[in-house]
């Protein structure tokens, strides 16, 4: 703006930072984050190439158990690769009691270890629980062989890990 004298008037006044809109935004973010807040964190970890199926189940895993993950290429026990999934697919589908030898041995060792821990007092009891994470595009055949192996090895309480559906 020009004054009659031809010089621009410099307005010396401190403009306060307008934080109201920022506060609005922060409040919304805060509410959103509080909604997805979880104090426990997640017990289950899952591999990148493992897509779990969606389900309505609301049950959260409470304790850390033995984890078996079956991805498209590998079978992992407690996040360590054990055998290629193709090996399971190669097994005859018509066998009445299919047992995957490598997985059976591994599970058997784990159960022995748990029993040792019970004896030494480190664990209260072996709950024989296993969490099975299987890719949602896997055939039933693979699931059946894995479940049967777990059952034969002594892990009779099986849980399937799933993704909670968003409301």
């Amino acid at each position: 703006m020009k004054t009659p004298h031809g010089r621009s008037a410099v307005q010396r006044c401190a403009v306060p930072l307008q934080v109201t809109s920022m506060m609005d935004m922060f409040t919304i973010i805060l509410v959103f984050l509080l909604k997805s807040f979880s104090a426990e964190g997640s017990i289950l970890t899952n591999a990148d190439n493992l897509a779990l199926p969606n389900s309505d189940s609301m049950k959260k895993p409470i304790a850390v158990n033995l984890q078996i993950a079956v991805t498209n290429d590998m079978v992992l026990v407690d996040n360590l690769p054990l055998l290629p999934t193709a090996d399971i697919k190669k097994m005859s589908p018509d066998e009445s009691n299919p047992v995957i030898p490598k997985l059976y041995d591994k599970l058997h060792t784990c159960l022995k270890l748990e029993e040792e821990m019970v004896k030494s007092g480190a664990l209260n009891a072996t709950d024989r629980k296993v969490v099975i994470q299987i890719d949602k595009n896997m055939e039933f055949d693979v699931l059946y062989k894995v479940m049967n192996t777990c059952g034969t090895a002594g892990y009779t309480a099986m849980n399937f890990a799933v993704m909670q559906r968003e409301e």
Partner: protein
């Protein structure tokens, strides 16, 4: 001491929001760190201890003793049908057509295509072959023997509309008393037939409806909470999980898994 008379000026003073801002700046990173955006939950398989999971023991029980009060409820799923069996008999088979909903990883384009065994799915815009990892949902819709989709009414909340006998309805009129498929069934008096949505009936809803009927009829069975899900080798795991969800929604929480021998 004498002071000069002061002129009183009215000045608007902004609230000092800085402490609050500081708090926010600390709180938001903390909440971000502990936020969970995808929740992993678990489904319990309640295997009775005497049954274990060995198939040899599983095979002995089904359908052998229809005279007892055992229900022996079984859901058989194959590539194109779902059948419910109980008390040694089978209900009419539900045939289905399979649709897959994909979400492309590159442009987040979402589309639904009918699935035919052995066929590949291509992206509608770029013609790229879609991978299994991009498949979001497997939708199963009931169809009749000739393969025509069966359309039924759904409430605005996505529940199947049934009549008093529990049959899914395809048309309603003003003033009708209908039930929405939930647990327990919810009675609705139709005020506006327009608000109901006619769409292909999902197999899971059809099964949910049938399971609810079985649950209502056989309340005194000793295994009234148990269901055996039997599947063919080639059935995709996702369908089994959806079937388990349906069973749990219809109050059959004790789920066992079996295999259909071909």
């Amino acid at each position: 001491m004498h002071t000069a008379p002061r002129t009183v000026t009215m000045k608007s003073v902004d609230m000092d929001l800085k402490p609050f801002m500081n708090l926010m700046v600390v709180l938001i990173p903390m909440l971000l760190l502990s936020a969970e955006f995808s929740r992993v939950t678990v489904i319990d398989l309640k295997l009775p201890p005497d049954r274990g999971s060995t198939p040899s023991r599983l095979q002995k029980t089904p359908f052998s003793s229809p005279a007892t009060d055992k229900l022996n409820l079984t859901a058989l799923i194959t590539d194109s049908t779902v059948t419910l069996g109980a008390k040694g008999g089978f209900l009419p088979t539900v045939r289905y057509r399979e649709y897959h909903r994909y979400t492309a990883r590159d442009d987040h384009n979402s589309f639904t295509v009918e699935y035919h065994p052995g066929s590949t799915v291509t992206h509608p815009a770029s013609g790229r072959t879609m991978s299994d990892q991009e498949r979001q949902d497997i939708l199963l819709y009931t169809c009749d023997d000739k393969g025509a989709l069966e359309h039924r009414l759904y409430t605005p909340y996505g529940e199947l509309v049934t009549d008093t006998e529990g049959n899914a309805l395809a048309a309603v009129a003003r003033g009708d008393s209908v039930y929405a498929l939930s647990f327990p069934r919810r009675l609705i008096v139709v005020t506006d037939p327009q608000e109901y949505d006619l769409r292909p009936m999902s197999v899971y809803d059809a099964l949910h409806n049938r399971l609810m009927k079985i649950k209502e009829r056989y309340q005194d069975a000793s295994d009234r909470d148990a269901i055996i899900i039997a599947a063919e080798n080639s059935v995709v795991y996702d369908k089994i999980i959806q079937l388990m969800d349906t069973a749990r929604k219809a109050q059959f929480p004790e789920i066992s898994i079996s295999k259909v021998r071909s």
